[in-house]
Structures are given as C-alpha cells and as structure tokens.
C-alpha cells in the first residue's frame, strides 16, 4: 500500500508546487470589477453599445449566443446531442431489467405530479422570454430535462420513457441541431452569410424564438435521454 501512499504525497506536492505560478500569474491580471479593464473596453463594450439594435434582444447574453457568436451555440447544441449519441453508442438502448428502483412514498409521488406542470410552464416561460429576462434556450431545456427526471423518479422511469416512441424521442433530441441548421441556412438568402439573422426586427425576433424553442426542447429531451440511459429505462 505504501506505493499508493507515496503516489498521493507526490501528487499533493506537485499540485502544491503548481499553485505558486498559477496564483502568481492570476494576481497580475487586472483586478476583477475594474471598469476600464480590457475585458470591458473591447468587444464587450461594442456588445453593450450596439446590443439592442444589432443583437435583437435586451438580454445581451441571448443576443451574443444567438446572433454574434451563433457558431458557438450551434457547436454547443451539437455537443449536447453528441453526448446522447455517445451514451447510446456505449450503453445501448436496451432496457436493463432486473434492478428494481424502490417506489417513492405517495407523498413524494403526489407532490412531483403536482409540480410537474408548473415546472413545464416555467420552463416555457424562460425559453420564450429569453430575450427580455435572464433565460433562454439552455435554461429552459435544462428545466425541461429536470422535470423529465423528476417525473421518472416519481413513476419509476419506464412510464415516462414510454410516453412517446424512441423514434420520436430521437427526433425531439435532434430538434436543437436541426432547427439551428435550418435557420443558419435561411441566413444565406436573408443576410448573405450563414448563421446570419436578418436585420428586420420582427422577422429576427421570430427566428430567435424558433431557435430558443429548438434549443430548449432539444436540450430537455437530450438531458432526459441521458438520465433514461444511465438509469437503464430507455425504450428498446
């Protein structure tokens, strides 16, 4: 066992030694919160200045995500779908029977069933109001995913995974990527660039809502799918 013990001590010393240059380097960065630091005076200043009319949304973060740096968000939506692809490729979609999950107490069951619609409405609200209030596609998607997991905790997973066929689940999970790809292609005729949103406010607003819904529903379905695969309740 002492080999393992010395290994631990060695790593502790290595990480302790690593701390010094890291902290020293970070100390020389401009202090956080300084108004004239480069972080606020370069690209971010331009976002804040022209955010509303260019980005098309008061919530600048949504403007950055969907308009200025749309390729990042497309990559992002693809990563979350690839995670489900990976989990399905490794774990397979066969339903693991044999491990019985203890049924929760009726109180928990009732409360979750009561809460679920409110979470869904709140998630939809967060998705649709992503350009005015803090929120957006990701946050809504995560809330939808959390609702799916809560429901499957209450009902033991199988009924929730069986609410729609696996085929529909996969289409829902790919919603984010497909919607984003369509809107990106649409950008070509409208703005002459891929991933470009038109400058006409109402059309841009509509496209952003479509993007948010796609990301939200896609993200929620994928996160639900990840839980189904890990808990072994995915439909085969």
């Amino acid at each position: 066992m002492n080999a393992w013990r010395t290994g631990r001590i060695l790593t502790t010393v290595l990480i302790g030694a690593l701390a010094v240059p890291l902290m020293y380097g970070v100390l020389h960065l401009p202090p956080p919160g300084q108004a004239d630091a480069p972080a606020h005076s370069n690209v971010s200043a331009k976002y804040i200045e022209h955010g509303a009319e260019h980005g098309g949304s008061e919530n600048l973060v949504t403007g950055v995500l969907l308009n200025y740096r749309a390729l990042d968000t497309f990559g992002e939506v693809l990563v979350i779908f690839t995670a489900w692809l990976a989990v399905a490729a490794v774990a397979g979609t066969a339903r693991q029977t044999g491990h019985e999950s203890t049924p929760p107490s009726p109180i928990v069951d009732y409360v979750i069933r009561m809460l679920a619609p409110f979470i869904a409405v709140f998630a939809l609200f967060v998705i649709v109001n992503g350009h005015v209030l803090p929120g957006g596609g990701f946050q809504g998607g995560v809330l939808l995913g959390a609702m799916l997991i809560l429901l499957s905790l209450a009902h033991g997973g199988e009924p929730v995974a069986d609410v729609v066929s696996l085929r529909t689940w996969i289409w829902l999970r790919a919603a984010g990527v497909l919607v984003f790809a369509l809107v990106a292609l649409l950008g070509l005729p409208l703005t002459g660039y891929l991933f470009g949103l038109p400058t006409d406010p109402t059309l841009r607003h509509a496209l952003m809502i479509v993007l948010e819904l796609g990301i939200g529903i896609g993200g929620g379905a994928v996160l639900g799918g990840l839980y189904f695969s890990i808990a072994g309740v995915e439909r085969s």
């Binding site: 971010s44 804040i48 803090p134 890990i230």
Partner: protein
C-alpha cells in the same frame, strides 16, 4: 497598490485557482472512478467561476438593457462562454458515468487498483484479446 490589497482585490481569481487545484487533487489521487468524475466537475466549475469573474464589474448591473437601468453593465461575453461550458460539462460527465457503468459491468469494479490487477492477469493476450 501593496501586496495585501492586490491579493484582496484578486480574491475571486485566487479562490477559482484554489478550487481548480483541489479538483485536480481529487481527480488525481482518488482511486474510485466516480470520485474522479466528481473531481473533474469541481475543476470545470472552478474554470467557469474564473471566467464569470473576468466579466464582473464593480456595482454593475447584469447585461440586461431593460428600460431605466443604467450604470456599468457586466460583460456579456464571459456569460455566453460559461453557458456553453456548463452544457459541455454535463455532456462529458454523462458519458463518463456511462463508461463507469460499463466498466463495473464488464471488469467487475470501479476501484482503479482492482481493475488494474484484473488487467494484469489476461494481459498475455494483449489488450485486444483474440477478437478483432
């Protein structure tokens, strides 16, 4: 700006780096695969904390241009980066957990030393064994 105030003004960066290193310590020294993944998550959230802090501004408002809100706005770019990063972290974590489930099913354990000792016995056939 003597050393004391500079350390105090950079406290957020220092805490983020400290969390990064503690996450690295958990990742490197833990023997249990699930514990390693938790350490990986601690590291990831610490890098996100660092990036959000770069966008922070003293008594500034969140980057929402609602009517009537002035004053310096926090920089929206780091928030967009961290949103993307969080979802990447979930993806990597869920793949890692599924791999752990498969390792447990096929190699019988999630403790690294037990798995390695299993590895030694049938190493004569090389990692691939007979099949392609």
């Amino acid at each position: 700006m003597n050393a004391a105030t500079s350390v105090f003004s950079h406290i957020d960066y220092l805490v983020a780096v400290a969390l990064f290193l503690s996450g690295a310590w958990i990742l490197l020294t833990s023997n249990n695969l699930v514990k390693k993944i938790i350490g990986l998550n601690v590291m990831e959230t610490s890098v996100f904390a660092f990036i959000v802090t770069t966008g922070m501004i003293d008594d500034g408002a969140p980057p929402l241009l609602a009517a009537g809100v002035e004053g310096p706005f926090a920089s929206p770019l780091p928030h967009a980066l961290v949103l993307t990063g969080i979802v990447v972290a979930v993806s990597v974590t869920s793949l890692a957990l599924v791999l752990v489930l498969r390792i447990k099913a096929e190699l019988g354990s999630v403790e690294l030393d037990e798995i390695e000792s299993v590895g030694e016995h049938d190493d004569s056939a090389g990692p691939g064994g007979g099949s392609g």
